[in-house]
Amino acid sequence: MNDLLELTKQLIEITIVICVIGISISLLLLLYRALVGPSNADRAVALDGIGINLMGLAALLAIIIVTTKLNDVILLIGILLFLGTIAIAKFLEKGVIIDRNMD
């Protein structure tokens, strides 16, 4: 029984290291896209992807330091990401973010 627990712990540690490395590579590629991307819409989509990768990184961090207190943070990152992306999209589309009358 103890051997099985040790094996599971090692498996989880190896998996977390692989996942962190993968997310780091993805973040670097997205950062390249956000810096170089030819149009502003490319940068907006790259920032959206960076935020989603940060959600995954926060979830992995919650597994590394064994805690459940980070779950609110993950949800918060997702909500703020959604709001920010909508604001950028409205600015690119219309030039105003909160308009006076939509009729």
Binding site: I79, F82, L83, I98, D99, N101, M102
Partner: protein, 141 residues
Amino acid sequence: MYKPNDLILRTTTSLIAFILLGFAIYLLLAGHNSPGGGFVGGLMTASAFVLMYMSYGIETVKKILPINFRTLIPIGLLIAVVTGVGSFAFNEPFLSHTFGYFTFPLFGEIELATAMLFDIGVYVTVLGVTMTIILTIANDQ
């Protein structure tokens, strides 16, 4: 000027704004034992309102939410000060808090602390300040 079609944005907003408001209330009530509290709860409520303002425009939301957010700031500060001053009535120092156990019909026994009232004051103040800043900037003619 062409008329934009915002059907998808408006439908998602009417669903997500309720989730955001529920999450804000959860953060406000859970602040005693877990992460959260008045500040984050106020910011989440403000972000739900900002989402509604972004997808429906100022004039429409003013009909739905007939609140002048500037008046929320003194109300919240007043709540916070009154919870501090209220401890004088029991011969205790300023801002001393207490708690007690109460039994409710649906929830069972709950621990209620007077720090919750102070947190509600912080919540109202943060909501008023954030919405005042955002709407003042957005209101240029």
